[in-house]
Amino acid sequence: MKPNNDRDLDQVLDNPSGLTDAEARELMSDKRFGEQYRTAVALRAAGYKAAPDAHAAWDDLQKRLAARQRPKRWVRYRVAAALAALFIVGASVATVMIVNHKEPIATATPSAPKDSLTAVPAPVPVTTASPGIADTQAAATDHVIVFDNRPLEEIITAACRHYGLQPVIDNPSTASLRLYFKWDTSTTAQQFVDALQGFDAIDLTLKDNTLTLN
């Protein structure tokens, strides 16, 4: 379409075929056409007068937030699985190395059966942390697990596994709060809850083997 600044806005709006991007820019910067255009844009903008339902929109926001949480949890479980796999491989390598160190003659003999290497039990990692919390990426010393800048949901999940509780997250936004938290795994579930309740924003309920984040 050949640029024609004699055209008015109505003609362009109703017959846009052939209008190129360059022509559109030229028309919008034209003094006469630009005035019509700016007034029409303002008219269009001033026309929106709907009274939206803010409560329904709020519900929609909560659904969006919940949907965003799910992939993160899935990714976290994959990371945990990868770490667990690495741990198993590491433990197996350590077993072989220890056996080689203790029985140098037997393993050096070509006739020694290879199966004898696997007969030695794998060394147990030196930690008192329960296996269920090994994937929390938190530092563990004796009975204390340190969660450094970890999401609350992760802390709750680890504790529920440890105490045999069912976790219920009713408040995804609070669940995503990141905390520095020292957890003494020798304490009771109720003491764990009381310790977390010390945070102003956290409201937990422990009832019937269920730990609920309200």
Binding site: L19, D21, V41, L43, A45, W58, L61, N171, D200
Partner: protein, 158 residues
């Protein structure tokens, strides 16, 4: 329900309508505007930022809405009656005072027929021919009447 959650909810309920109106004015699309407001609040929720106020919300929604229309071509913006770059580059479009005055003029400075024409043309995006068919008049007559309306509104605004 914790204090931060309560604060954000109140902030949302108090400001949603205003923010939606602002985003719709810029993007010209109520669905896009709704998404824009929601994304701003998702960011507030998921980032460890402190308390935010109305000023922050208005700026965040405006910037996100402007980013949306910047992704469109000049042709798309013209045909959808979205603001051109030069209209938004100083950061104060849509000027709330002008929009309020224009809204007042639409309500009080036009007769029912004129308001109907504006609504059909600029809000429903009907063509002159479609409006003419609906009202039983020629497209040329619709064009003339719209020209008079726009000139009147422009004079009053100036």
């Amino acid at each position: 329900m914790n204090a931060r959650h309560k604060h954000i909810k109140q902030l949302y309920l108090d400001n949603y309508a205003t923010l939606l109106r602002l985003a719709t004015a810029i993007t010209g699309d109520a669905d896009v505007a709704h998404d824009t407001v929601q994304e701003v609040f998702v960011n507030i929720y998921t980032s460890p930022c402190g308390d935010v106020g109305r000023g922050y919300l208005v700026n965040a929604v405006r910037n996100r809405a402007l980013n949306h229309i910047k992704s469109l071509t000049a042709r798309e913006r013209l045909l959808r009656l979205l603001p051109a770059d030069e209209m938004v580059q100083d950061g104060d479009w849509p000027d709330p005072t002008t929009l309020t005055r224009l809204s007042h003029l639409l309500d009080n400075g036009l007769d029912a027929r004129q308001r109907q024409l504006v609504e059909m043309r600029y809000w429903q995006r009907l063509t002159l021919a479609e409006i003419g068919r609906a009202l039983g008049i020629l497209p040329q007559a619709v064009h003339k009447q719209l020209t008079v309306i726009i000139d009147t509104l422009r004079e009053n605004l100036n």
